[in-house]
Every structure is written in structure tokens, then in C-alpha cells.
Symmetry: C2
């Protein structure tokens, strides 16, 4: 993390943004190390019991697993709930990039616990940006401090992806508030015992609103009503009906909530609730990608340690110690290959994430309007890629770590199987990865965002052209350049398909997103290697070796993805829905 | 199944083998339908409670989950434990291919339950082939009848893959039996309440035996001693220390067993226990592949049904019903693509399995010695491929089905998450998939087995040459032919590497196995399509469409696998074990 932010991106890119002039390398290092310690010392030790005990519900009251309350108190006391919140609300005012790196650490060490503060974080940013001053002052500081928390209530039993089908109703009260009624499911941290109050952000339809997505409004609905002086009043009409029994993140309470004439406050404009909410959800999607990256890291760390320690079978020549009956399994080329696949994608994926998350800060704080707009386009482009690729990588990596542990990975003891189960949700929530892939091909390749992609491709081309002749670099730059050419051709194909054959473009969405991600990571790797071309020493040499492994072992998948995209539409279209039944 | 066995393979290929002349299409259909009913009516309904309740241990006594006892009684009453056992032992004498197809069904509907009879099946075949007449008569009929069961006790805490490290001891008793002492872990069905007795097949080392794999012998160690008249005697010195808490197959008792001077009987030759056991394990590995295939099937069936029923978002034009607010998600091209990836690999993978499993029957029963030897080579070649590829496919398919269900796939209700957890073990047990890949490259590409591969490649080449000119077939035959050329080149590379750079060949093992499997399935698909080239009608038309989808969407992965194999050795070797720490 430090290498990428401090050396590769450059700490000055952050410190020259308004509000961050004091952020230097030492401060960054201190914060990240403290965050790491908190995760190692407080969150990791309660991760397994959180899974085994799970969140529980008794008579409509939800309890978190043993240890969660104490850890949450420490989270609050350490100021970790307000990292990137504005100081005016009691936050630390640090760059969002720092928050995203902490998201990675917390996501990988104890996702179930992290989720109790994560949606709050999104919710208070939304309220800070969109709510009236009165609501802002009443809710936001307590949420930044972690004394209150927040949720997002979107899904209903009959609608997940398609929020246009929402049935929950909002009826205007005389005092300007609304009575909210309806059933919401899959509400993360919908109820728990960690905070005094919970502020639900609820999508509902006002009486007489248009059908579909254009008739949905957003409301803040507190669990306990809040008096004008900020003290807590009566319980609001929000009932916890049940919690889900899930594959993983079992310590996180995923709730079904019934709203029964609950008092809610309109946030943002009437009937524009989806637009209001999606500003928050887009930021949240990057967070999900960082959760995924956290799982890749903890999977890699565990698999590496186990492979060093587990002694089994003789390694092929030259053996580390010929006199022993067996060697550590890391000397088995298949195990080494698995570890390097994880590591090269982890480091390259983190470079992509640092690039994208830094642009969130630029988008929000740069003094230049043009820079803000350009950054917003890059963030929009990379959001589905970060969300989907990094969470896919999370699951393949936790599976790989489990595989390195063999039978010992299938039992609970080492925690590898829990990582598989916990990481699996990241591919599903906040929109399935397929939905994001369709978002990429249908909305992110045209207009301003599409031009932004083209400018990025051009900037890479120029960089590679300047460095291709260097024979040390060419083994890394050339494969990246070839992959980029394929990506650009596939992009032309997708853009044409969107115009002429929408179904064909959508059927290529996941393959295209993966082609984009693998290629972009190759380009970031090439960029990194170019940036350290004059640096010697083991650390930099290992970066070059890792980059080269990526080019030879991971990047070639783009060849087949390219082929499938360019030639696969016909056989997909030819197979009709009726054919499935024969 | 019926199409593949009856039409494609040809039922006469089976009925002309000794002992199977009465097996006609109707009988086959009847058996498979009854097996399917048993799985649907008896095994599927107890699958979820088996997971939630799990196997339990109380004071050293293991109990199976509710419903398992009744289902096991029905399994025994229906004669399902002795499908391919010889009639002289009370079996049905059916072809092994039929047993393998039933393995697929049972594996997919309730693997945890199936495992209680599965190892017994392997164990009684081993005893029938290898044990003395006395032991055979005393143990085998009861095991075939399912009144007794069997296990394999291989793994010890410090050795899984590398059985040469085994520490368990065997000391000769005066009566010709042995006293077995040691600790075994990961013993599937090591203890339970379904049968009167359990016969453990245990690997142990006799006093003074050579170290490593050449000093290991195999013993039959019953839970209860068996008197000469066949009645049960005293409890033997086998203690159940604990059962594992696992990610999945939680209804299956995976035991740690302590052997304390337990009475055991030598099976096969002294110090040749591994060789004796591996004859059984090879058959068992095909069974694991069939379990994997079962998960692919149940994943596909569930995902297809859900995608038909779940209404969400509008489909791209032309929509099935423009007047509705949303369409079934199967109309989303990404969902359709996911389903077709599953289906095309399922049907193609099953063709490969039918081919391989049929050759087990040829190998065991053909009157021609040459045919038996040739078949044995093909079985040896395909065993690692069936085991690893089909179980990898099981996990990617159960994950895909879960993804189609979205958030509803992450909760327990629909069973999709259980299928992921249950199927995951198939990639690990009976040797991890990586171990089988290394087996393929190091032992299956040279000598007789290697020649067998070359003959198979040549036979496909000839078949394709004869049919390439047919323009209807060429869209399927040509991609298969191109992939075959790549496989043959990669095979040459691997064979050369084995001679010159063993580590390089081993580091390419998993990629090579996958290249082999994907290409072989393409060739089997081409073979199928050629075999039905004169047949009309929806059923056959759908086969052609599915084959074409496979060629355009699945097979292209072989391009990148080929590239990684041919060019990836250097970057893997360059990265040293020390580099991992920097």
C-alpha cells in the first residue's frame, strides 16, 4: 500500500488537494500501520466466533456475536468510523483513498463486523450531501461518531436488481414528514445492539407517483424518533421480522424489516430517490471491491505461510535439502504457481484500485472543475470494474488458499473455508457482478465516460511507445501493449453492438469487463515497472518478476476472452429460451 | 444419460461384454429412472437437514442426521449398494458404467448421505479382488448387502498427499493377524450408526519395513471382530476420537480414529499396500468425478428453473411480453450465457465420463486381452482428467447457480449455497486436483498410456478429416480440430520438459490437464454431432446448438492455456522462494 500510494501514485498527488496539505508519507504510514494493528488485534481474533455464533434474533431483538460490542467500542474510541468525514461533523477529514485502504484491511479480517459501520459511512455521507440542514445536524454527527449507525433499505421480496418494481409506500403527514409502510429484505445491519439508534435510508413510492424507477423517493427513517434537542424519543414503526441464515458473514445481521407507518423524512427531491441514492451506492461499490481485495490479501498471506510450513512430498530438483524425507510444499511448482497468480493479481489489482480511489478524492476536492469532471468520469468507468473484478478475484483467491491447505482447508480450524463463504457475498450484494458488467457495456463506453476510456488507452499507448525499445522493459510492456490493442478492438465491437444489437452487447458484458480488468492491470503493472526502471534492489527486482509472471500466466486469458466476445454472439442468440426445454 | 449410453456409445457395446447380454435399452432406462426416483424421493428431501443437523458425536459414538437411517434402510432394501457387485456376493452384476451414472445422481442430490455407502463399495471390490478366500467370504457379502460398511484410513495428521510418511504400525500376532496402532484423520464414514459393522482398510508399516512408500502394507481392521461363523464378536481397538467440523458434507462423519493394537488382517502383499490400495482408489477417483458431474447437473437444473420463474428487469428486444413491467431473467443474455456454459460443459463432460467409465467395464470383462489392456490405458489416462476437470466444473457450476439466484442464493433457503459447500470437497479429497494434474503430466503421457493418448488423438483426426468438408458440421468440427492441434503440441512440450526440466512440466500440470479436458470434450462433442448428422428434430437440433455454443464460448480458453504452458515456465522458475518474502 505504501509503495503504491507514496512511490507510485506519489503522495504529492494527495497533499496538493485542498484539505490534505499535511498528509505526508510518515503520517500515511502511521495511519495504515495503526489500522493494520486494529484489524490484527481486534477484528481478526473475533472473526471465527462471529461466524460460529452468528448474529441472533430473540423476540424481534437482534444481538451481535460475542466480542463485537467491545470491538465496536474500540472502533468508535479510535475514531475509525469517521476517517474521511468532514471535521465539521467530527470526522478526521482524511482522503477517501485512505478510507478505501482501511476498507480493504477491515474487509479481509472481519467483514461481518465491518458491515456494521460500513453502511453508516455511506449513509452519513449521503445525508451530509443531500439532507436538509436540520436533518443533517440532527443525524450526521452521531453517525460519524459511530454512536448511531445507518442502513440502506432497497430490496423487497419480489425486487432486487429491478428497483423499479418497489411497492413500499410513503404517505405525507401534516408536519412535512411521511408515513412509510412496506417490507424490505436483505437489509445489512438492519438491527443490532451496537448503536443507540439506526437511521434507515428507505426507498418508497409516494401516493400518485409514476410507476417504475421515476416514481421512487428516498426517506430517512430512524429506529427511534429523534427529538428536536437531539435526544431519543419513541420507537418508530420499524419492526425486525427476521434475520437471514446465510452462507457466510454470519456475524452480520441481514434483516427483513417491516415498516408500518414509520415516520420518515424525504431526502433529496421527490421521485428522484434512486438518483440520490446511487451517488452513495457508487462510492459503496468501490468499497465492495476493496473488501474483495482484502480477501485476496488474507488468502494470499495464509496460503503463503502454510505452504512454507507444511512439509509434504519431495520437491523437484534442485531440492532445498536433499537429506530430508519431504520438503515444504511451496517448492512444488503447482503451489508456487497458485501463490504467484494470487500475488500478481493482488498487487496489480491494488494498483488499479489506488488509481480509481484516488480519483474519488480528485473528483470531490480538486479546485479545477475540469479535473473534477475528468476524475468523475474515470471513477464512473472503473467502478463496475473494481466492484466485479476484485470480488471475483476474492472468491477465486480464497478458494485457492483453501486448496493450498488441502483437507485442512475444508475443515473450520484454519479459517480458510470461512473466507470462501464470507467473500462470496461480495460478488452478489450491491448489485451482482453481472449487473455491473452490463452497466459497463451499456452506460460507461459512450459519451464523456467513453471518451475518458479512450484518453486513458491513448495515455498508455504513449507511455508504452516511449519505453518499448528498452529491452529490460519490453518483456512486460509488449504483452500489455498487445492486450491493450485487443481491448480497444473489443471496445469498438461492443460500441457497435450497443447500437445495432443490444442483446449481443449484453451477452458479452462479463467477458468484456474481465478483458478490461485484466488488460488495465497489465497496463498498471507496466506503468509501475516503468516508474521504477532506474531502481535497484530486491524489492524492485521482485516487482519486476511479479509483473512478468502476470504477463505470462494471467494476461493470456485476454486472448480467449477477446475471441469469445468477437465470435460468440451468434451461438448465444441462436439458442432460444424454448430450446432449454429440449 | 440415455442418449449418451444408448444412442451415442451404443448399448451393444455393453451387451456384447460377458455377463451383460441381457442389458437392453429398456432395462437401462428402467434402472436409471428408478435410481433417479430414489434420489428425488429419498435423498434430496433429507439433504438440507443433513447439513443443518450434521453428523454428531457423543461420548465417542457417532450418529447420522435425522432421516439418514430410514433412507439407508431403503437403499439397502432396493439393492442399491450392490449394483456392480458380482452375483456370487449377492450383487446385481450390472456394468460399472451404470454404477457410475448412479454415482452422479446420488452425488448431486445428497453427497453426505452417499458417502456412507461409497467407500464400502470401493472396499468390498478391493477385498473381493485382493483378500484371501476366508476374509472374502467373511466380509464381502455383508458389505455388498450394505449390512456392513467400509472405509479407507490413509491420512495422518502429518501426511496427506505424501503417504510415504505414514507412521502407523503393524505388529505380527501369533495367529497370523496383526496389531495395528496409530492415528488416522479425515476418515470418511469412519464411524456411524447405519451398519452393524465397519471394515476399515488401513495403511500401516510393519516392524522393520523399509521407509517411504515401499514399506507400507494394507490391513482390514473391523470395528467389531468377526467370529469364524460370521457373527460379531468383541469391539476391536478402534476408537473414534472426534469428527471434523467442515465447510460442507456436514451430514457425513469425517472421523479421527485411533487404532490401539487393533486386530487387522493383511490384504495383498506385505509392503505393497499402496499398490493394492491404488487399484481401488483409481476407481474411486472416477466416482469423485461423477459426484462432481452430479453437482453440475443439479446446479444447472436449479438455475434454469429459477431463471424461468424469477421476473426482474426488462429483457432486451424482442421482449417475450411487451405489456409486462419485467421479464423472467432467463431472457437476460448474461443469464442465458451462464446457463449455456453450464449445460454445454455438463453434456460434453458427461460424454467424456461415459466414454471413460465404459472402458472400465471393457478393462475388467472383455474376452480380448488386448482390448482389456487398451481399455486399462484409456482409463488410466482419463482418471485424473475426470477427477479434476469435473470437480472443478462442479464448483464453478454451483457458484454460477448461486449467482443466478442472486441474494436468494446466498441464504440457505434454496439450497444453492449448500451445493457450493458440499461440492467443494470433491476438488480436495482422493488427492487434490493439483496432485492429479501432476500425475497426468508425469505418469500418463509416456509408455503405453502415452501411446494410448496418441492413438486417441489420431482417431479423432481421422474422424474430423472425414467430416470437415460438410459445411453444417464444420462450425463444430474445425474448432475441435484446431484445439486438438494445440493439445498435441502442448503434449510434445510437456513430454520434452519431463525429460529436461521436471519442475517446468510440473508447473504446467493444472493448465495442461484443463487444456486436455476442454479439448477432449470438444472432440467428444464433435463426435456426437457427427454421429447424429442425419437425424432431424428438436432434440438433435438442440444438441448441435449446444455443441456450437461450446466451441464459441468455452473452447477458446484453450488458446490462453496453450500460451501459458508454452511460455510460462521461465517467469515461474525465475521467482525464487526467497523472493516471496520481499
Amino acid at each position: 500500500m505504501l509503495f503504491l500510494v507514496d512511490e507510485w501514485l506519489g503522495i504529492d498527488k494527495i497533499s496538493t488537494l485542498p484539505g490534505h496539505k499535511d498528509l505526508d508519507s510518515e503520517t500515511l504510514q502511521f495511519i495504515l500501520e495503526e489500522a493494520g494493528k486494529f484489524c490484527s488485534n481486534e477484528l481478526l481474533p473475533i472473526n471465527r466466533e462471529g461466524d460460529e455464533h452468528g448474529a441472533t434474533i430473540d423476540n424481534g431483538v437482534v444481538s451481535t456475536p460475542p466480542g463485537f460490542k467491545a470491538a465496536y467500542e474500540h472502533l468508535v474510541a479510535g475514531g475509525w468510523t469517521g476517517i474521511d468525514a468532514k471535521p465539521e461533523y467530527g470526522g478526521q477529514g482524511l482522503p477517501k483513498l485512505v478510507q478505501y485502504l482501511i476498507d480493504e484491511m477491515q474487509g479481509g479480517t472481519n467483514l461481518a463486523f465491518k458491515l456494521y459501520s460500513e453502511l453508516s459511512h455511506g449513509a452519513y455521507h449521503l445525508l451530509a450531501n443531500e439532507a436538509s440542514e436540520e436533518i443533517r445536524n440532527r443525524f450526521v454527527p452521531n453517525m460519524v461518531a459511530g454512536v448511531w449507525s445507518g442502513t440502506m433499505c432497497l430490496t423487497e421480496p419480489h425486487c432486487g436488481t429491478d428497483l423499479g418494481l418497489i411497492n413500499s409506500k410513503a404517505i405525507a403527514n401534516d408536519d412535512g414528514s411521511y408515513g412509510i409502510s412496506g417490507s424490505k429484505i436483505f437489509v445489512t445491519s438492519g438491527d443490532h445492539d451496537l448503536t443507540e439508534n439506526i437511521v434507515h435510508l428507505v426507498l418508497a413510492r409516494m401516493s400518485g407517483a409514476p410507476s417504475g424507477t421515476r416514481g421512487i423517493s428516498l426517506f430517512a427513517v430512524p429506529k427511534y424518533l429523534v427529538n428536536e434537542d437531539g435526544s431519543l424519543g419513541e420507537r418508530n414503526g420499524v419492526i425486525t421480522a427476521s434475520i437471514e441464515h446465510k452462507m457466510g458473514i454470519r456475524g452480520s445481521a441481514t434483516c427483513a424489516l417491516n415498516f408500518d407507518h414509520a415516520v420518515g423524512y424525504l431526502i433529496g427531491e421527490e421521485n428522484k430517490g434512486l438518483r440520490t441514492l446511487f451517488r452513495m451506492m457508487n462510492m459503496e461499490r468501490l468499497t465492495i471491491g476493496m473488501q474483495g481485495l482484502g480477501f485476496v490479501d488474507i488468502a494470499y498471506q495464509n496460503a503463503y505461510q502454510y505452504a512454507l510450513e507444511r512439509v509434504q512430498s519431495k520437491a523437484p530438483a534442485p531440492r532445498p535439502n536433499d537429506s530430508k524425507a519431504a520438503d515444504p510444499i511451496i517448492y512444488q511448482p503447482e503451489i508456487k504457481r497458485i501463490l504467484l497468480r494470487m500475488r500478481s493479481q493482488l498487487e496489480g489489482g491494488r494498483a488499479m484500485a489506488v488509481f480509481a480511489c484516488h480519483h474519488v478524492d480528485v473528483m470531490e476536492t480538486s479546485p479545477s472543475q475540469e479535473a473534477r469532471a475528468d476524475a468523475a468520469d474515470l471513477v464512473a468507468l472503473f467502478t463496475p470494474i473494481i466492484k466485479s473484478y476484485l470480488t471475483d478475484l476474492a472468491v477465486t483467491s480464497t478458494l485457492s488458499a483453501q486448496q493450498v491447505f488441502g483437507g485442512h482447508g475444508y475443515v473450520r480450524e484454519h479459517g480458510m473455508e470461512q473466507n470462501v463463504r464470507d467473500s462470496r457475498i461480495t460478488q452478489i450484494y450491491e448489485g451482482t457482478n453481472e449487473v455491473h458488467a452490463v452497466d459497463l457495456v451499456t452506460r460507461k463506453l459512450s459519451g464523456r465516460i467513453g471518451q475518458s476510456a479512450d484518453r486513458l488507452f491513448d495515455s498508455w499507448r504513449e507511455l508504452f511507445a516511449d519505453n518499448r525499445a528498452n529491452s529490460d522493459l519490453s518483456v512486460i510492456v509488449e504483452p500489455a501493449e498487445d492486450a491493450l490493442a485487443r481491448l480497444q478492438e473489443a471496445t469498438r465491437w461492443v460500441r457497435a453492438a450497443i447500437e445495432s444489437n443490444d442483446a449481443a452487447a449484453r451477452g458479452a458484458a462479463t467477458n468484456y469487463l474481465r478483458l478490461f480488468a485484466l488488460t488495465a492491470i497489465a497496463c498498471f503493472w507496466a506503468d509501475i515497472v516503468i516508474s521504477i526502471r532506474d531502481k535497484d534492489g530486491r524489492f524492485y527486482e521482485t516487482k519486476r518478476k511479479t509483473a512478468r509472471f502476470y504477463m505470462q500466466h494471467v494476461l493470456p486469458e485476454t486472448e480467449s476472452l477477446y475471441q469469445v466476445i468477437m465470435a460468440g454472439a451468434e451461438s448465444l442468440a441462436d439458442f432460444t429460451i424454448d430450446d432449454f426445454s429440449s
